[in-house]
């Protein structure tokens, strides 16, 4: 905790993320209009619509605020699910030797499979919905976490205190939950941040090429709409329609990058590896 407080970049990242999270949580109170409500289309910014309106007359500022909700919801749910699966498999594989061979081959398989093309093709055949996106990302993002947790558990399980607990007759489930899991928690946080960073980037891309949920528009989906509008670049529309949504994505990704940097320096002070692969 104290170490994190001393890391300026980490604090900036955390501040940005909390800012967007607050917007997401309190979207109905902050947004001036319902994002589905229609006014005149493609209005320029004015006192009633601070960022104008889009091609079907929806208030862009309200869309942006509700978009925060959709983008962060998909990102956080999918990364929690993916890392959750990764932790479970990593702990089981690392602790019980029996499953090691088959589960590690499965992990290798998921690491080698060309993720994004597979995610795109599955998303294209499913009905476009927020939950389906969460599902696909969770299924294809757990493998790296599993591998990292396994490596850590392999070193932990032969520590003296773990052997001692086992000699006292503690059950495996007890040892895993109380004597091994707490030590992998810092790694879990690093993984959560890195996976989130990947998912928000991938989600915006998927939505941009038309695989997002049209009933719950994320930032990527807003960019999809804006880009499809014929005169988006010739008129000044891009300034309030495209730019804010794009910058929100960039800022969120930077937030995750900075937090990842700070956490990685604490978890792994000697190896300052690149946090954003």
């Amino acid at each position: 905790m104290k170490q994190y407080k001393n890391n300026k970049l980490g604090l900036v990242g955390l501040g940005l993320l909390i800012f967007f999270l607050l917007i997401a949580v309190f979207a109905p109170y902050i947004a001036p209009y319902d994002p589905h409500q229609r006014f005149d289309s493609t209005e320029h910014p004015n006192s009633e619509h601070l960022l104008g309106t889009n091609h079907v007359g929806q208030d862009i500022l309200s869309e942006l605020i509700y978009g925060t909700r959709v983008s962060l919801f998909i990102t956080l749910f999918a990364s929690i699910a993916a890392v959750g699966i990764g932790i479970f498999i990593g702990l089981v594989v690392g602790y019980f030797k029996r499953f090691d061979f088959y589960l590690m081959r499965l992990t290798d398989l998921f690491l080698t499979i060309p993720k994004l093309p597979v995610i795109i093709i599955i998303a294209a055949f499913m009905l476009p919905s927020v939950w389906n996106l969460v599902f696909v990302f969770a299924i294809f993002e757990w493998a790296i976490t599993a591998r990292i947790i396994r490596a850590e558990v392999l070193t932990l399980r032969h520590r003296n205190y773990v052997e001692a607990t086992r000699l006292f007759g503690a059950k495996d489930s007890h040892i895993l939950a109380w004597h091994i899991f707490p030590y992998v928690v810092p790694l879990v946080f690093v993984q959560l941040v890195l996976v989130s960073r990947y998912i928000i980037l991938a989600e915006s891309g998927l939505s941009f090429i038309g695989l997002g949920d049209p009933t719950a528009k994320s930032w990527g989906m807003m960019l999809h709409d804006a880009f499809a509008y014929p005169t988006i670049f010739i008129s000044d529309l891009w300034m309030w329609w495209m730019l804010p949504a794009g910058l929100c994505i960039v800022l969120t990704i930077l937030a995750f990058t900075f937090i990842g940097y700070a956490l990685e320096e604490i978890v792994n002070p000697s190896l300052k590896k690149s946090p954003w692969i």
């Binding site: 499979i113 060309p114 093309p117 597979v118 055949f125 941009f208 880009f227 891009w238 495209m242 960039v250």
Partner: protein, 305 residues
């Protein structure tokens, strides 16, 4: 050592099988999929699967309804543009990323280093399609320096080969720049970190004590040893750039396989989407496989695992 190689190859075969099967079963599994209207007179699934495999071996990927042509022909026509875009960008971001990473490590903490570091971390936070849109607005519309879409000027017949090449490069510039800038960060940072840890080693001190030139040490002693961890990740980075073309080509309407993906999604042209999917999946697998082999050749330690 032998078993390790065999497990890996078996792994690749399984993945190829999974990818092909996914392509076959996905349209048949989805509740409102494109095949839901078919009647009961269709042959059993196993029979369909065998026919599908045989067709695939013959390069028959079905008919693209939106392009009104066989999927295979459409893919072949688009492939050269994707290869040109990915190939040129990859060559640039790998060489430039390694060079700048080495320079950054050498000038650690100085202005050059901090400037490059901030620049590449921020650039890596840009989704490729968003950066592409900004380039179109600024370089395409505002400054009118580069074409805003396509790979060649339409309806213009260049009399000389030189003119054609110039036109193609002119169209290639912005998409390639976008792909390069969004992909370069990872390899830059990797080289920088790898170099920093190598420059701390004692044999570098020895080389300095011998009075060798600084640039000679970087080139001959440091970079050589720093390269190994970089090569392991080149495949991963190349994979990212290959999928990045889907978004870059969409933004610039660059007529490669990536544009086919978003076109097919918009037109609900599933056979075309599946063909493009096979292209991207196999391209990434091929890159991964090659990188694995190269790494084994360079580092004998890997084989002992």
């Amino acid at each position: 050592m032998q078993t390790n190689v065999i497990t890996k190859i078996v792994g690749y075969i399984i993945i190829i099988f999974i990818i092909i099967s996914l392509n076959f079963f996905l349209p048949r599994m989805m509740p409102a999929g494109p095949l839901s209207g078919l009647t009961s007179s269709t042959p059993p699934v196993l029979e369909q699967y065998i026919t599908y495999m045989v067709d695939l071996m013959h390069g028959d990927l079905g008919w693209s309804s939106s392009k009104n042509a066989p999927v295979w022909d459409v893919l072949i026509r688009s492939m050269k543009w994707t290869l040109l875009l990915v190939g040129s960008s990859t060559a640039i971001y790998i060489s430039l990323g390694i060079l700048l990473g080495a320079v950054s490590a050498w000038k650690k903490g100085k202005k050059t280093d901090v400037g490059l570091l901030v620049l590449f971390i921020v650039l890596a936070a840009f989704p490729p399609f968003f950066l592409g849109m900004l380039f179109i607005i600024y370089f395409g519309w505002r400054l009118d320096l580069f074409p805003r879409f396509g790979a060649q000027t339409l309806y213009i017949d260049y009399s000389t080969a030189f003119g054609t090449i110039l036109d193609i490069l002119h169209h290639l510039f912005l998409p390639a720049l976008t792909l390069t800038l969004t992909s370069i960060g990872v390899i830059y940072l990797l080289t920088r970190n790898s170099m920093l840890s190598v420059l701390d080693q004692e044999y570098i001190q020895t080389a300095r004590a011998k009075g060798l030139g600084e640039w000679y040490i970087i080139r001959r002693h440091a970079l050589k040893n720093a390269m190994l961890p970089i090569i392991t990740l080149v495949a991963l980075i190349a994979g990212l750039a290959i999928t990045g073309t889907i978004f870059v080509e969409t933004v610039f309407a660059y007529p490669g396989v990536g544009l086919l993906v978003s076109d097919a999604i918009a037109a609900h042209d599933y056979p075309l989407l599946q063909g493009a999917f096979l292209f991207f999946a196999f391209a990434i697998l091929a890159v991964n496989f090659t990188a694995d082999r190269v790494y084994e050749l360079l580092d004998p330690r890997v084989k002992e695992d």
